[in-house]
Symmetry: C2
Subunit: 470 residues, 2 copies
């Protein structure tokens, strides 16, 4: 709880205009993009610089007030839901691109910059920032770093972590630490840069980041391959990689997803096939053409019933947009859409999709599956109704079985969405008790008063998504 | 100290034949490749599997005995010198390549595998493991991971950290933890995989690793550009990158290094120029040819006095070997060779080399500089004599000034060699007190009895390399 005295100290730091605690403000920041989670914060604060953040953190540490850093709240793991109340920290005054350094191929940004705005700014200089989470139109770079966001280009280019070279961070004790820099190589001390990436705001507040850029690939081609069975599609994925072609994007949609997406986007996708692969390659034109040709041959050998290369950028863009709109399209159909993130080694995709379908059938649920086939990163998505207690119990049971299966196949409970509050009860499946204990030790060492985004990553109990926290 | 009782328990675990404590055995493992550091261990143990390592760690934790994991001891930061006595742990029974997985493009290895042996094994399957530390003929993968080794191909392909997907590790409490997996994406919990890479054995003992492989680039070309002044060479490096060409290798040698290397390797290198750039590009043949052509033009525009592309693989190999032999060649000349590792943003290379030369002159020292120009990772190398106390004091002073300058330019005190015991007194220059404190907190949390490679990374005092610890 924020006392009158603390409130006064906080407003003295940020100014009255950057401190909100009206019921409406608190309600607005009581949830994020994750369905079924909600909790009221005590206040919403918008600091203007790192120094103010440091002062706020010191006060919160002294008074043991939870702090929840929040970009646009697009995460899907309840990572920015203020589960234990306290202060939601916004970055609306920290939205500058500080520098694009063409000699060192870096961009330095404040955490509140919108991902796509930054991508456009570097592209204007002929440079490329590959991570492209589906939410990039509204997500912030700070949020991407906290969640270690992935995206469609992850297969070839990696994820957010692979592009973070240096950070400025306010630690839970209020100290300001700088890690890394514009450096391709740096082994001075523990790798706090990567420890903070994906730590979901539980170890500190990121206040600045230096990101790696790469040259813009000169050409890109997009193609679609249709299959009458899932195994053939999965086998194509394996064979493309086995032939040592690493496409930029290798996406998969199953029949139910395809039907919904076409209904929503109306771009003439076929809806009578079992699986679709959306494949993109970028690079020098001659290599792209060669690769696309080879990929087409591999798909045909694997009984693809149709293989089609987009003839124009408009057509390619239509296909990409279709894939990107999968979640929005699915979300229209039922009151509650639960998107999951189980990931397996790519050789296990067919087995995993089969297991998901069996689990869905067993529990009488509608689960559509799409995702990043090249990464083994699948998004089984359950169309359900949060008000139906019986069905939600079955949803919970089904996803637990899906996670167990993913881990059994050498996979993980989350490939790119993060743990947050939503996956915390399952984390032990992947890390084991030794791993959870080691994480606890690090958290306790850096944040002994547990003020940094408490209730996330670490499970307090076995409470799962079906229990809404009002 | 190892009591008779503890000795008995340790030999019961590993067998008498894997426990050595003769004076000779201890002497052999009292130092590593780093000059001026030596300390006697109490015993040298060669466990046969992870379970035995776990048992050893539990005993060491109970009896508070230091444990120093050691591959081939090729590190240059005194990282495997048993500074505080205790047990040196060898991996001679853990030298298997467990699996090369062509569908998932991974290799799983035990820590004692020699780097080049593994590279050859994956190349036999047409796959490529890019990190290539100069010591790769004898270094082990476990050592590479502990030190986050770099190499000549780091500019385009990154360093060891970028290829470690998963680890099995024995934590300081003896628990066995598994991180990551054959997964392109995994955000389940804190990134212990990357925290352990480069932690120099201070947080746990790595007992297995799953590494990422990439397709073998089909072609490679090598070229040499000669310069009459350093600035022009540095400007070429910047312009190559600014033109959005990322070569595989972009190495630099200054005149003194060049003379010594040619004297040693006798491959017809010019010795009357101020700087040489050794440049390699790999990829599809047409792209390689195009890039090499463009690079040649850029070098010529920057007043390179000669630009020559190697005409055969034998000639290219000679050039690469010359670069790789720089340290050995320099080491022949004086009793003591101190190789440093200051790294700056690549745009600052010319400034840094100039500063190094001025500092050398000021302290009347012979410092040759070579290194990975594309990474800004320079290796100023001092040819000196450890017995000359006055000169060694000046060496120490000079390197401190070099580190301060590197950090001032946005760089770091070590790009790829690690901190170990040698750089520990300088670490605060890069990390500041907040960073050192955060590292201490993590170390204390995971290894409260400080048994894991104690005396490394964290400076106990201001003792520097000039004091030999006998």
């Amino acid at each position: 709880m924020i006392t009158a005295e603390l409130r006064e100290q906080l407003t003295a730091i940020v100014g009255n205009e950057n401190y909100e605690d009206s019921k409406v403000s608190k309600l607005v920041y009581s949830y994020d993009a994750t369905p079924q989670f909600q909790a009221m914060p005590d206040a919403v604060i918008s600091p203007r610089n790192t120094e103010e953040i440091s002062q706020i953190v010191r006060l919160c540490n002294e008074y043991q007030i939870p702090l929840v850093p929040r970009g646009s709240g697009t995460n899907l793991c309840a990572g920015t839901c203020p589960t234990e109340g306290g202060i939601v920290l916004l970055f609306k005054h920290l939205q500058s691109i500080l520098e694009i350094d063409e000699a060192n191929l870096t961009v330095t940004v404040q955490p509140g910059v919108i991902t796509l705005d930054m991508i456009h700014a570097v592209e204007a200089k002929g440079l490329f920032y590959p991570p492209d989470p589906s939410s990039m139109k509204i997500s912030t770079i700070g949020g991407n770093i906290n969640e270690n966001s992935g995206g469609l280009r992850g297969l070839k280019y990696g994820v957010t972590r692979d592009y973070v070279l240096g950070l400025e961070v306010v630690l839970p004790n209020g100290e300001i630490m700088r890690t890394g820099g514009k450096l391709a190589k740096d082994v001075a001390g523990y790798d706090f840069t990567r420890l903070l990436v994906g730590a979901e705001g539980t170890l500190g507040i990121i206040t600045e980041a230096t990101l790696k850029l790469v040259p813009m690939p000169p050409a890109k081609k997009t193609m679609l391959a249709l299959y009458e069975d899932m195994e053939a599609a999965a086998e194509s994925v394996s064979n493309i990689i086995r032939n040592q072609i690493i496409p930029t994007t290798l996406e998969f949609l199953d029949r139910p997803t395809l039907q919904v997406v076409e209904d929503y986007a109306q771009i003439g996708l076929p809806t009578d096939v079992e699986a679709v692969l959306l494949i993109e390659q970028d690079g020098p034109l001659e290599i792209v053409e060669e690769d696309i040709q080879k990929i087409a041959e591999i798909c045909e050998q694997q009984q693809a019933i149709s293989v089609k290369v987009a003839e124009s950028e408009a057509e390619a863009d239509g296909l990409r947009t279709a894939r990107r709109s999968a979640l929005s399209a699915l979300a229209r159909l039922h009151p509650t859409t639960i998107l999951e993130d189980a990931t397996v080694p790519r050789s296990e995709i067919a087995t995993m999709v089969k297991a998901i379908n069996e689990i869905a059938e067993k529990h009488h649920l509608q689960i559509c599956t799409f995702g990043h086939a090249g990464d083994g990163n699948l998004h089984p998505t359950c169309l359900t109704d949060g008000r139906n207690k019986d069905e939600m119990d079955r949803v919970e049971q089904a996803f637990e079985e899906i996670f167990i299966k993913a881990v059994e196949l050498g996979g993980t409970i989350t490939g790119e969405h993060g743990v947050g509050m939503m996956k915390a009860p399952y984390l032990h499946l992947k890390l084991g008790e030794a791993g959870i204990e080691a994480m606890h030790a690090v958290k306790q060492a850096l944040d002994p008063n547990n003020i940094m985004n408490p209730g996330k990553v670490f499970a307090k109990d076995t409470r799962k998504r079906v229990v809404v926290n009002k």
